[in-house]
Every structure is written in structure tokens, then in C-alpha cells.
């Protein structure tokens, strides 16, 4: 007898389902459903009390109707009634209905929770499991509030049945994911970790998932799980294929549990204990070895389960990123899969290799597979596999193979699926820029991109090529020649017109000597595209035209005629009309000198991170650009290819040739500006924070340096007062004009910190000193800004830095005995008074260096306080005019994990947090 007919067939339900299936049209189905709904409604409302079976049947019908996609607005009460039935199937259907159709009706929630409570307390394991499944399926906050505190108890109770423990573990996991605040950590957590030792494999399987989730928030509390997980894994991996009986799946012992254990281990750094680590490495090697053994079964389930473990093992190896031998073995294994006949394995191998490519140990090994990957890009029939291949090519790209990869990706672009073209375009643009050795190659590549996939070339990409051409004079002539040629194609993309228009407007003079690209030819070529273009492009071209009048006076008459034409001067588009009117006037009234000043070549763009990279990251989520962000693989690339980027919002205005709004304003002599307010100065340069960090623990040094200027700092602080000397060194032989360094207090800082200074005038050449007198009025979080402006060779320069004045400069060290320290430490025990950070060491962990940094930070170092001599303990008082803030600090290095834990306690919450952040960045 089949299991289904063991007595719970609901004839009415089967008939109803058959009826629905026989409906010939949607209308007929709706009619039949409405009839059934009316019937059920009347039964539920009827005078005759329904027996449990009927109630179950009708509730089940409602559920079926709901799952078909129709709305159900009644029956909840009847379902809730079923929950308290003592007949299992009735209860079961009741719970299913509640799980699928949760209703936030508060009255019902109370009743549901009551029923669940009764079942949890029933000591009947099947009922308890039903209740736990329901909580897990609903997983709402209300459920969490009602039960989150009880479930840990059920989970670790000695007398809970295995099946109940399993459900309780995953139920708790679901509640924790939904509302972590509701799940109280406590004594039970230690016992949960020990479930990893449970005899019942099912309990372990459920518990690992819970632990993996919990340990991410509280890694220290669950640390013991590492050795337990390793020994469990080792037992599974080394067991024969039949040892685990029903937990063996197609000759693979416990694949689900193995994968989960390997995932859990990825939440932690490699085990500190040498024995545990040795055992784990052995496991990982065994998995890699097994991959080479002949399969025990031809079934795909066997190879899938086996390879699932293999891929998870490789993920762990990549996560550790510390065993070169294992990394290279992993890479070779994936290399074999790249040519496997199973599409799934090829897909996963490409995906996994992407992460391997960013490890310094395996990057070279990954690169050896380049031909296979290129071949995959060309021949894979499945677009999702091709996408992975493109990702991998991007990840494995470096200077040695950039030309090959970029050209392959360009070729792929011609036939690529529309869905991934934009991404490929971004990737090509980034690689071309990042690994350009000569910039003519870069310019060619971008123009090819526009030619092949113009529609997918976003603003960021073509802005970028203009920025780079503007900043590099060695490529300007080539760029002008190349765009000129590209524009001669009969049909060229509008983006090409934009790039061409801009570049010729700036650098058309560089090719004007050749009669084939004489000024009139350039102009008529551009103007032949004008009428086909959008308003934005036409606006850009008008700016090119006025630039032409400056570059090539011989085109003036022609261009003025164009500007004067009715179609421009009376253009319906206000932007085009305004440009035409203003440019026409400018060209008529301004003298050649004025014109030359106004229409001067654009100054170089400030050097910043590439906005294309940012765009790719936005598109792909975090980590997508990792192959390029981490400089570790190819640090040398930064010097010649360092980015230049205007922030996206300002990009357009920076790129536009000057003068759209009011060209006349530019004619005024730029008088030295008055002291800028905070709103007048630009944002701090991107590296301002990094520069500031350098001065947290020291007072003297070079604050900033570029090709033009060096700024040195020397400062001293006593109590709440300080004096700072800034030294401005002019590195050029020319004088700076209008040199004006000023200090700005953003936000409320004025009331917190007073910085007085005189303005200095720099005559150029030599070094000039500026003295700042500083008084700390009260605690403050943001440093003042130093804005430096001057003109160099006619170009205005502006620079905003963070002045190295941080709250810890006003520290007064305090010596105290251990007893006093601990007494004060206890006094500052409110949670908001403490700030703690656990972080990875960024510098070698040298006790002497650490000591020096802590002293530089300003606190006293207290010996013989912390029972662990490795730890550092410090104390001090922050002096401000308004108040004093007592600070205690403790730094615990963990040399094996290469981590620190830093704890700060002060009487003021923001101060604790701020000091903690400042200090944490120093190690």
C-alpha cells in the first residue's frame, strides 16, 4: 500500500483539484474557485459544528486555492482551531496553513502562539517538531519575541529527542537571522558548540548551520568549535565510503555535513594550535588526493557530492591564503575541470579560479590557463559560462598578458550577449587604463570600444579617456589624429562624436599642420555630424566651435555664421540657444588675448581613483573589482597609471569647456579671495585621512608633498594648549601667486577648538613658516581643515588637508597602581563608556614599536597591571578648557592570529569611540 493512502485521503479535496485541472479556461477556473469559496464560507458560518476532518479538508482546500495564486481572506480561525486538535494530521494541516498564510492579526497571533506553546510543552516529540517547524517557517519578529528565549533551552536539554534538537537548532537560526537581538546569548552557547560532538549525525548537521551563523557575530565565544569541527571533519574524510550508513550519499560519506563544516572553518583564520592545523591540512590534502582517485560510481550524484566537498575545500584554502602548496594544487585541480565534459564543473572551476587569481601564491599558476579560458570565452555555448570566463580573464590580467586579454575581450564584445556588454565594456576600459604601457594603445582600445559597442559605453568610460588624454601630453597628438580618422567613418556612434568633439576642441591644433586635417576640414567633419546628434552632444560641439575660434582664427567667420544661424540663435532648447548667443558675443567682443585666456586648454584633472572601477563595483556588488583594487599583486602599476577622476556628480561640469552659464564672468580678473568659509573650500583630498593618521602618534613630519609643494609640521601640546608650525616649501623655481593657507573649522568645531593664525605670504622659492596657536575648548571629533590655495603658472591650485590636531594631542599621562586602575576601570563599566575594536595587524607586531606608539598617543603606559605581560595598559586625562575626560585603555595583541583587541573606557561615550578608532588605525 502506498504511503499516501494510509488513511488521510481527502476525497473532497481530490475531487476539487481534479475539477480545477479540468477547467478549460482561466474564467472557468475562477468560477469553480468562487463556487468552492462560497461553499466553504457557508460551511464555516453554518450552525452545524464541523468535525475535525471536515475542517481539515476545507482548510486544505483554501490552502490549495491560495497556492494557485488567489487571495484568501478567511479560514484563519478554523486553521488555528486545528492547531489544538490532538489528531496529528489535523494539527499538521493547521500548522501548514498558518506557515503559508501568516496573518498579523494580533488576536490570532495570540491564539497561534498559545497553541505553539502547548505543543512545545507537550513532551510529544512529533508535536514539538511541528511547532518548531511552524516557528521556523514563519520566522517573524512576533514569533521571536514569544519563543526565542525558550528554544535554546529545548536545544540543549539533556532529554530532548534528536529530531527535536535538530528542529530547535534550525528554528533558532531562522529567528536569529530575522531578529538577532531577540536571541539571548548565554550559558547555552558553549553547549551548542559541543553538539558538534553529538553521536547523531543529523544533530551535528543542524547544529553546524546554527554555529556558523552565530560565530560570525561572536567569533570568540565560539572559538572552541574550530578544533571540534576539524576532528569531526577528519573522521568523516578518513572514513570508508560505507562507514556512515545512511549518511553516506552515493559512496560519499556525509557530503552535506562536510560542506557545512568547511564553511564553518571559513569563519575563522587558520587554527592557531599546531596539532589542529596539522590535522586540518591533512584533511584538505586527503580531499585533494581523493579527487584524483577513480570514481566509485558513474552516477552524477557521486561526482557532484564529491566535488561539492572539493570546491568547498578549495574555498577554505583560498580563504586561508597561506599555504602556497595547497593553493597551487587547488589551481591545478581547477585547471583539470576547465576542460571537463560537465558544463557545471567548467562553470564552477572558472568561478573558483577567479578568487584564486587574486592570491599572490597562485596568481601565476592561474595565468598558465589563459588559453583554455580564452577558448571558453569563444566556444562555450552557455552565456553564463562565457560570463564566468570573462570574469576570470579580468581577474588574471596583469601587465604581462593585458594586450592579449584586452584584444580577446574586444573580439568577444562583437558577438557578446546584450545583457553583459556593458560590463565587458567597463572591464576592458579598466584593464586598458590599468595596464597601459603606452597610451596610444589605451586610446585605440577605448575608441574600439565605442566603435564596437558604442551604446554600452557609459559616460564614465568616455569621460575617463578625455581625462587621461588631457592629463598626458605625450598622447594628445595621437589622440587627435586617431579621433579625426575615426570620425571619418560614414556612420559613427554619438559617443565617438562627443570624444572627437572634445579632443579636437582641445588638441585639434596638434594635427592642423597636415592639410588632410586642416582646421576647416576638422570643422566641417564635426559639423557634418551636428544635426544627427542629441542636444547634449550638440551643446558640447558648440563649445568645441568656440574653442576652434581661439585655436584657428581662420575658422572664425565660418563658425560665427553657424552660431548666428536662426537654427542656433532661436533654438527651442534653451541651453543650445544660450550657448550660441554667448559664444557668438564672446567671439565678437573679446580681444584675442582675452579669448586665449578664457578658452585656454583645460588644466589637468586631479588625480583620483577611477570612477569606472566604482561603477563596476556598483554593478557587481562588493568584491567585483578586487582583482584591481588590491595593489598587492602589481604594486608597480600605480605609479604610471595612477587614476585621475572627477567625482561623478562633478564630472560633466569639469569636462565641459568653460563658459556655458556666463562666459563674461570669466573675464573678470580673479582677485585674491577672502578667507574661505567651510562652504567655499573643496573637500579634503582623498588621502587626507591617511595623512592625518600618520600624525596621531607623532607630532613632527611631512604632512603633504606633491610636485609643487611640501608641507611640514612641527607641533607641541601642553594641557589644553598647543602650538603648531607649518612649513611650506615651494619645490618649483617659480613664485606662487596669491598663496593663501587658511584654517577652517567645519561644523561645530569652532566651539570646540580654537585655532588662531596669521596669514602668510609666500614669495616663492624658499620655505615659509606659519604658526598656529591652538586651544582645546571641549572634546571634539573632527580635525580642522587646512585649505591651501595659490596660482602656479596661471593655473589655480587648491588643496584641502586635515590639520593633524586630534583629541589625543591633549592627553596628559597619568601613572597609577594596578589597584587604582582596576577600581577606575570598574567605575567606567557602563556599556556606552566602553569602545572596543578587534582588528587585524597592519604592521609587524613588535612590542617596542607598539609601546612607542602608545606613548606617542599620549597616555601613560602602566606596567604590572595586566596579568598578561603581552598586553598593554594605559591611562591618561584629556585636558580641555571646559572639562577633563579620564581615559583608560587596554591593548591585547594576539601574535598567532595577527590580531589586536583594543578597549577604551572613558567617561564620555563619543570620546571612547573616537579614541578607539584613532588608535586602532595605528597598528
Amino acid at each position: 500500500m502506498p504511503a499516501v493512502s494510509k488513511g488521510d485521503g481527502m476525497r473532497g479535496l481530490a475531487v476539487f483539484i481534479s475539477d480545477i485541472r479540468n477547467c478549460k479556461s482561466k474564467e472557468a477556473e475562477i468560477k469553480r474557485i468562487n463556487k468552492e469559496l462560497a461553499n466553504i464560507r457557508s460551511k464555516f458560518k453554518g450552525d452545524k459544528a464541523l468535525d475535525g476532518y471536515s475542517k481539515k479538508k476545507y482548510v486544505c482546500k483554501l490552502l490549495f486555492i491560495f497556492l494557485l495564486g488567489h487571495d484568501i481572506d478567511f479560514g484563519h480561525m478554523e486553521a488555528v482551531n486545528l492547531l489544538s486538535s490532538n489528531k496529528y494530521t489535523e494539527k499538521q494541516i493547521g500548522y501548514l496553513f498558518i506557515s503559508v498564510l501568516v496573518n498579523s492579526n494580533s488576536e490570532l497571533i495570540r491564539l497561534i502562539n498559545n497553541a505553539i506553546k502547548n505543543d512545545l510543552a507537550s513532551r510529544n516529540p512529533t508535536f514539538m517538531c511541528l511547532a518548531l517547524h511552524c516557528i521556523a517557517n514563519v520566522g517573524s519578529r512576533e514569533m521571536g519575541e514569544a519563543f526565542a528565549a525558550d528554544i535554546p533551552r529545548i536545544l540543549v536539554a539533556g532529554d530532548s529527542m534528536d529530531s527535536v534538537k535538530q528542529s530547535a537548532a534550525l528554528c533558532l537560526l531562522r529567528l536569529y537571522k530575522a531578529s538577532p537581538d531577540l536571541v539571548p546569548m548565554g550559558e547555552w552557547t558553549a553547549r551548542v558548540v559541543h553538539l558538534l560532538n553529538d553521536q547523531h549525525m543529523g544533530v551535528v548537521t543542524a547544529a553546524v548551520s546554527l554555529i556558523t551563523c552565530l560565530c560570525k557575530k561572536n567569533p570568540d565565544d565560539f572559538k572552541t568549535c574550530i578544533s571540534l569541527a576539524v576532528s569531526r571533519l577528519s573522521r568523516i574524510v578518513s572514513s570508508a565510503s560505507t562507514d556512515l550508513q545512511d549518511y553516506t550519499y552515493y559512496f560519499v560519506p556525509a557530503p552535506w555535513l562536510s560542506v557545512k563544516l568547511l564553511r564553518l572553518l571559513q569563519c575563522y583564520p587558520p587554527p592557531e594550535d599546531a596539532a589542529v592545523k596539522g590535522r586540518l591540512v591533512e584533511c584538505l590534502e586527503t580531499v585533494l588526493n581523493k579527487a584524483q582517485e577513480p570514481p566509485k560510481s558513474k552516477k552524477v550524484q557521486h561526482s557532484n557530492a564529491k566535488n561539492a566537498i572539493l570546491f568547498e575545500t578549495i574555498s577554505l584554502i583560498i580563504h586561508y591564503d597561506s599555504e602556497p602548496n595547497l593553493l597551487v594544487r587547488a589551481c591545478n585541480q581547477l585547471g583539470q575541470f576547465l576542460q571537463h565534459r560537465e558544463t557545471n564543473l567548467r562553470y564552477l572551476a572558472l568561478e573558483s579560479m577567479c578568487t584564486l587569481a587574486s592570491s599572490e601564491f597562485s596568481h601565476e599558476a592561474v595565468k598558465t590557463h589563459i588559453d583554455t579560458v580564452i577558448n571558453a570565452l569563444k566556444t562555450e555555448r552557455d552565456v553564463s559560462v562565457r560570463q564566468r570566463a570573462a570574469d576570470l580573464l579580468y581577474a588574471m590580467c596583469d601587465r604581462s598578458n593585458a594586450k592579449q586579454i584586452v584584444s580577446e575581450m574586444l573580439r568577444y564584445l562583437e558577438t557578446a550577449d546584450y545583457a553583459i556588454r556593458e560590463e565587458i565594456v567597463l572591464k576592458v576600459a579598466i584593464l586598458a587604463e590599468k595596464y597601459a604601457v603606452d597610451y596610444s594603445w589605451y586610446v585605440d582600445t577605448i575608441l574600439n570600444l565605442i566603435r564596437i559597442a558604442g551604446d554600452y559605453v557609459s559616460e564614465e568610460v568616455w569621460y575617463r579617456v578625455l581625462q587621461i588624454v588631457t592629463n598626458r601630453d605625450d598622447v594628445q597628438g595621437y589622440a587627435a589624429k586617431t579621433v579625426f580618422e575615426a570620425l571619418q567613418a560614414p556612420a559613427c556612434h554619438e559617443n565617438m562624436v562627443k570624444v572627437g568633439g572634445y579632443i579636437l576642441g582641445e588638441f585639434g591644433n596638434l594635427i592642423a599642420g597636415d592639410p588632410r586635417s586642416s582646421p576647416p576640414v576638422q570643422f566641417s567633419l564635426l559639423h557634418s555630424k551636428f544635426h544627427l546628434c542629441s542636444v547634449a552632444t550638440r551643446a558640447l560641439l558648440l563649445s568645441t566651435y568656440i574653442k576652434f575660434i581661439n585655436l584657428f582664427p581662420e575658422t572664425k567667420a565660418t563658425i560665427q555664421a553657424v552660431l548666428r544661424a536662426g537654427s542656433q540663435l532661436r533654438n527651442a532648447d534653451v541651453e543650445l540657444q544660450q550657448r550660441a548667443v554667448e559664444y557668438l558675443t564672446l567671439s565678437s567682443v573679446a580681444s584675442t588675448d582675452v579669448l586665449a585666456t578664457v578658452l585656454e586648454e583645460m588644466p589637468p584633472f586631479p588625480e583620483r581613483e577611477s570612477s569606472i572601477l566604482a561603477k563596476l563595483k556598483r554593478k557587481k556588488g562588493p568584491g567585483a573589482g578586487s582583482a584591481l583594487d588590491d595593489g598587492r599583486r602589481d604594486p608597480s602599476s600605480n605609479d604610471i597609471n595612477g587614476g585621475v577622476e572627477p567625482t561623478p556628480s562633478t564630472v560633466l561640469s569639469e569636462l565641459e569647456p568653460p563658459a556655458p552659464e556666463s562666459p563674461m564672468a570669466l573675464l573678470a580678473d580673479p582677485a585674491p579671495a577672502a578667507d574661505p568659509g567651510p562652504e567655499d573650500i573643496g573637500p579634503p583630498i582623498p588621502e587626507a585621512d591617511e595623512l592625518l593618521n600618520k600624525f596621531v602618534c607623532k607630532n613632527n613630519g611631512v604632512l603633504f608633498e606633491n610636485q609643487l609643494l611640501q608641507i611640514g609640521v612641527k607641533s607641541e601640546f601642553r594641557q589644553n594648549l598647543g602650538r603648531m608650525y607649518l612649513f611650506y616649501g615651494n619645490k618649483t623655481s617659480v613664485q606662487f601667486q596669491n598663496f593663501s593657507p587658511t584654517v577652517v573649522h567645519p561644523g561645530d568645531l569652532q566651539t570646540q577648538l580654537a585655532v588662531q593664525t596669521k596669514r602668510v605670504a609666500v614669495d616663492g622659492g624658499a620655505q615659509v613658516q606659519q604658526v598656529l596657536n591652538i586651544e582645546c575648548l571641549r572634546d571634539f571629533l573632527t580635525p580642522p581643515l587646512l585649505s591651501v590655495r595659490f596660482r602656479y603658472g596661471g593655473t589655480p591650485q587648491a588643496l584641502t588637508l586635515k590639520l593633524p590636531v586630534t583629541i589625543n594631542k591633549f592627553f596628559q599621562p597619568t601613572e597609577m597602581a594596578a589597584q587604582d586602575f582596576f577600581q577606575r576601570w570598574k567605575q567606567l563599566s557602563l556599556p556606552q563608556q566602553e569602545a572596543q575594536k578587534i582588528f587585524k595587524a597592519n604592521h609587524p607586531m613588535d612590542a617596542e614599536v607598539t609601546k612607542a606608539k602608545l606613548l606617542g598617543f599620549g597616555s601613560a603606559l602602566l606596567d604590572n597591571v595586566d596579568p598578561n605581560p603581552e598586553n598593554f595598559v594605559g591611562a591618561g586625562i584629556i585636558q580641555t578648557k571646559a572639562l577633563q575626560v579620564g581615559c583608560l585603555l587596554r591593548l591585547e595583541p594576539n601574535a598567532q592570529a595577527q590580531m589586536y583587541r583594543l578597549t577604551l573606557r572613558t567617561s564620555k561615550e563619543p570620546v571612547s569611540r573616537h579614541l578607539c578608532e584613532l588608535l586602532a588605525q595605528q597598528f
Binding site: 488521510d8 534550525l170 528554528c171 545512511d246 557545512k260 557530492a305 552557455d382
Partner: protein
């Protein structure tokens, strides 16, 4: 796992299990989009695809598509075998399962799934233990109920 969907070749949804809170509207939208995407794929294509910020793992068994959405760090191959183990469980319980079994006994399909996966995680991988739980439930049933044998559309091999 974030959700699991079972749908037919005609795009009819046969089972839906959501492990993350979503509104009915979102669920319908996701279902529509995914059913379309998966049905459009050719046989022999790989079983994985990126979709929004999730990974989709799917496999077709006869007329039914089983489709799971997992997160970035989750293991695709083991998810494929979650699907297979679920099919095996259904097969064992119904005895050579077919789409009709799942249509007419949809509640059983949900019960079996709950024993196997809970909150999107594998709870019990032993076929014996999962079926024992369901079996016990069946034994708990009242013998007095009207019996209905739906043999007209359920073929079966053997009782478990």
C-alpha cells in the same frame, strides 16, 4: 537557501517555499521572472546562473523543474544534490513520484520538505530518518477516517 520553487514545463508553480520574508507581491514577481528565465534555457546548459545578487541552482526531473536560490557563499553542487535528495524522498514516499502526486498531495510534499530542510538549511540528510518522521505521522492517523485511494493517477512501485 532563500527559497525553493517547483514548476512545470508549462510554467505552473507546483510548490513554493520561502525562507526569507517577502511580500506576496514580491514572491509573485520573483516567481514569474525566474520561471521565465529557467524555462528559456536550453537543455545541457549549466545548472547554475547568477540572478540579481543570488545564485540559482536548478534541475529538471521529467516534467518538473526544481529551482533553488542560494546566497553568494553557498555551494552550488551540494544544492544540486539537495534537490536530488528531495526528489528521492518524494519518490520513496509516493513510490515513483510524478507531477500528479505533487499536485494532489501538495501538503505531503510540504511536510517532507520541512523534515528535510528547515529555515533554508539541511536538517536531516538520512533518507531513513526523514521518512521515519513522515511514516510515524502517518501511523498516528486515525483509522476511522474515510479512506480514499487515489490509485487512478498514482502509480507506485513498493511500499516503504
Amino acid at each position: 537557501m532563500q527559497f525553493m520553487l517547483l514548476f512545470s514545463r508549462q510554467g505552473k508553480l507546483r510548490l513554493q517555499k520561502w525562507y526569507v520574508p517577502l511580500s506576496d507581491k514580491e514572491k509573485k514577481k520573483i516567481t514569474r521572472e525566474l520561471v521565465q528565465t529557467v524555462l528559456a534555457r536550453k537543455p545541457k546548459m549549466c545548472s547554475f546562473l547568477e540572478w540579481r545578487d543570488l545564485k540559482i541552482v536548478y534541475k529538471r526531473y521529467a516534467s518538473l523543474y526544481f529551482c533553488c536560490a542560494i546566497e553568494d557563499q553557498d555551494n552550488e553542487l551540494i544544492t544540486l544534490e539537495i534537490i536530488h535528495r528531495y526528489v528521492e524522498l518524494l519518490d520513496k514516499y509516493f513510490g515513483s513520484v510524478c507531477e500528479l502526486d505533487i499536485i494532489f498531495n501538495f501538503e505531503k510534499a510540504y511536510f517532507i520538505l520541512d523534515e528535510f530542510l528547515l529555515g533554508g538549511e539541511v536538517q536531516e540528510t538520512s533518507k531513513k530518518n526523514v521518512l521515519k518522521a513522515i511514516e510515524q505521522a502517518d501511523l498516528l492517523q486515525e483509522k476511522t477516517e474515510t479512506m480514499y485511494h487515489s490509485k487512478s493517477f498514482i502509480g507506485f512501485k513498493k511500499a516503504y
